[in-house]
Point group: C2
Chain length 529, copies 2
């Protein structure tokens, strides 16, 4: 590989590799080890990275929204220039195909940065609110009060394994935090170290190009540096994508700090798909084919992979299960992101296989080194057992189909299921009539409701919610995809009785940013007297 990899931590614009512990990049397909050592951050280096972020915060938060927008645009440009050798390196570490997958993800990552730049220029993230003075009010005058939102402070971000670009170093959490004016300390995922370094370099170039303070972005390597990072006093919020166990451990640490801080962890979801009879009648073939594609997409290594398929017993459902089995039979084994992932997946498959009431009804080939797609069929009673064995995520290309006895049983399950990132209906108009109660229940349980689509493929846009009740995430009030993600890292502050000259720019009378503000109860872009 011709890429220039140093393997040192990124601290305040400098590189530092003082530790003795090394990590190595691994070829996900062959298992071969990349020779260059990645130096695990020492306790001192973790503290230094946090300190660098803390030191950068006053200057970084003082940048204008336009300056931060230009910075995000510059990151996007740098990412776009990462070429085929970069994609090859990412592919080598993750076994994800360079095209179209990683090329697409690169565009998604730069596009995400540019979308947050737009948010910064639009200015509604400021949430500007102005209540003008009412000096004549009785019995007491009302002072002038003006509110806007500022970044909470340095943010720790943990990258995900499954999106080495879009949910990693320059991913959604980093973009949202930087947009909010929060310096970032990023914990590189051990599954794509070379990738992380190349992207961190791109961010560093953008920092220099746009004159952002050193320490706006920092990155540390290591298996066990996360706990120290989350416990560091200067860190004010955490973004995480990964397992329920890992996410919950961070939440518990953050809650136990002298100053508790919020953790936005996106963790575990089985993304139920409800198959309705009219839809199966009209489009059963297409649904079977598309669903098998959605379950095996990216080797099933997606947070929104459909892990549970539900339908009420009917001749259409019986026919559909046969079609779906056939579609699964046509699927093929694929290499997972890393050997740990494969071993987890195989454990999950074994757990389901051994569960009374569950049987394997189709597999896509066989392999010892790759993940084999599995289609399970489970008895409906398992949906209602206390251990909820069908609601435990199996991260990989498998899914479970369940024939329910009745619509009542479906409603009963929907009312009691765990929190989800998504809930999908495959339904024709006729199916929807009389199922408003079901939709209302799904709304209480999921962050995103889909009709006649597949949850894999998460659009990055203003309206997206990639979140949901626990255990889908640790805080249902956030989203980790889409522009609302910035809200997680903002807090409101208000000024009372300050003269115009001393007010933050978004709150000045002249509305120099031309943003929409809530003035005396009305949304307006007007200037003030």
């Amino acid at each position: 590989m011709s890429l220039n990899i140093l393997g040192h931590n990124y601290i305040g614009g400098q590189r530092s590799g003082e530790g003795d512990l090394h990590l190595h990049s691994i070829d996900a397909t062959s298992g071969a080890i990349f020779e260059i050592p990645f130096v695990t951050a020492t306790e001192k280096e973790v503290a230094a990275a946090v300190h660098a972020a803390e030191k950068a915060y006053p200057a970084f938060r003082a940048t204008t929204s336009e300056q931060r927008a230009a910075f995000l645009d510059a990151i996007a440009d740098e990412i776009d220039t990462l070429g085929d050798d970069f994609l090859a390196a990412v592919s080598r570490e993750t076994a994800l195909p360079a095209t179209p997958r990683l090329a697409g993800e690169r565009g998604r990552t730069s596009g995400q940065m540019r979308l947050f730049a737009k948010v910064l220029r639009r200015g509604d993230f400021y949430g500007a609110r102005i209540d003008t003075a009412l000096p004549e009010r009785k019995p007491m005058a009302r002072p002038d009060i003006r509110q806007y939102k500022i970044g909470v402070g340095p943010v720790a971000v943990f990258g995900a394994s499954n999106f080495p670009l879009a949910f990693s170093v320059a991913g959604g959490d980093t973009a949202a935090a930087l947009a909010a004016g929060c310096p970032v300390v990023f914990k590189a995922h051990t599954g794509h170290l070379v990738t992380s370094e190349i992207v961190a370099d791109a961010i560093e170039r953008a920092i220099k190009k746009t004159g952002m303070p050193a320490g706006t972005f920092n990155m540390i390597y290591g298996d066990r540096v996360g706990a120290q990072l989350v416990k560091s006093a200067a860190i004010q919020a955490v973004g995480f994508t990964g397992s329920l166990r890992g996410g919950r451990a961070l939440c518990d640490m953050a809650a136990a700090r002298p100053q508790p801080i919020p953790v936005f962890a996106e963790m575990s979801s089985i993304n139920p798909i409800i198959l309705m009879s009219e839809a199966l009648k009209v489009r059963g073939d297409a649904i079977a084919k598309d669903l098998a594609g959605s379950v095996t997409m990216g080797c099933g290594q997606l947070c929104t992979s459909p892990g549970l398929l539900l339908g009420v017993k009917s001749p259409e459902l019986t026919a559909f299960i046969e079609k779906l089995s056939a579609a699964f039979g046509g699927a093929v084994p694929a290499t997972m992101l890393n050997s740990g992932g494969l071993s987890h997946y195989n454990s999950g498959v074994a757990r389901l296989t051994q569960l009374p009431g569950v049987k394997v009804i189709a597999t896509g080939g066989s392999s010892y080194t790759q993940a084999v797609p599995h289609l399970f069929k489970a008895e409906a009673s398992l949906l209602f057992s206390k251990e909820a064995p069908l609601e435990e995520e199996v991260f990989g290309p498998s899914t479970v189909i369940v024939e329910l006895e009745s619509r009542e049983q479906l409603i009963d399950f929907a009312a009691n299921m765990h929190g989800q990132l998504t809930a999908t209906l495959q339904a024709e108009i006729g199916d929807l009539q009389g199922n408003q109660d079901l939709i209302a229940l799904l709304e209480q349980k999921a962050g995103r409701l889909l009709l006649n689509g597949y949850p894999t493929g998460v659009e990055v846009c203003d309206a997206m919610v990639h979140g949901g009740p626990y255990p889908a995430t640790s805080d249902a009030r956030g989203t980790s995809v889409g522009t609302l993600a910035i809200e997680r890292f903002l807090r409101p502050v208000c000024y009372q009785n300050y003269p115009d000259a001393m007010l933050p720019v978004p709150l000045k009378n002249a509305n120099p940013l031309g943003i929409t503000r809530l003035v005396d109860g009305e949304l307006t872009r007007a200037t003030l007297g």
Copy 2:
């Protein structure tokens, strides 16, 4: 007292008093005990109250924003009709004067309900966002995605002692939760039981009048029912106003649940006031008088009471301290909300009195049964000692003034002080020049920045922030006063590819509510094609 008090818990529109443990209302001034027992909720009754809220949630959240607005207006009307005998009862339990204080607080409480009704009618709380479909987009079509916000589910609210109306049964947290469509289980404060019952009755009448589901509001009595309430699985968020110890305990419980939930606890703040030399020169007399009034207002039992006064050594400051001492000498002892409060206050005063480097420079009279106003002077070094003894809240009519050596020392303290609800500058234009860095630091440490005002007196409006970094609150991203408070109890959800007929009303093409929505990146009230 002619008021009809039953002393039973409010569970799903019924009254229930099955327990053996009783609480009694106490006359705050005389210590006399009100004869009627208030029956502590049993474990079964706490569970029943939570269950009632859970049961009410689907119907309550399905109400339109207009229906909920009418409900809040009805509560406001009921509160306004509570007359002089009510105010006398509140005054008896709290020692707060019926007029103007409690009459004003009654108006503030009903006004708060009406303000949230306005928010519901305005509809911006929905945060409606629409990204329309782009069927021709390459390489992949974009589906139609629409986001809005819904209530998180049943909310537990803990009333504060110091605002028996505005921060209690029908107070800000209750108003915000009900506005969000979240049923409430309220834990009545033991310091104003009769008050709580009368206000709960008012809410119950409004529920019946506007046809809200039984269980929309529930209230339980008890000293130790809070832990069970917070640990109840159906509860999805907690609002609390009170002590740091109490608030932190709830946070820890909530974080340790199988499903962690957010706690919005407003806890502890010393509300520093920085006195600048020009201001002292021009208005020293008035500031001394007003500040003594602010510190002793409501017997200092306000979250925003100024507990720390800071100025850089100067002849003006020396003169000011004399004026302030004189003003404190004119203050008089006052009865606190309850004997526990007095005992805490006296402990706090004793702690400061015994602290090396602190001396009492003025007191307002003397008393064994009432709180005596205290003005302390402390050495600047105490601001920088690790234990931060001057940053520990003393809830009552006392404050500490500190003469700093230099502006640098002031900046140093501001950079390191704890999180605050408020930070105030007394400053003339000349004082402000060159102090932008100080203001930027205060913004990082507080929820509300005041200029030439006093933090006591928190306006209920759109722009208010009554929040701030820990330990002022447990989550700086929330406010417990003002309309932004509703955000704490909302979460986003999105619909992908749903037909117009099946979409929630705020997201329909025709924009039937006429609300402002973010459509394809633009804020607009327009309808869609």
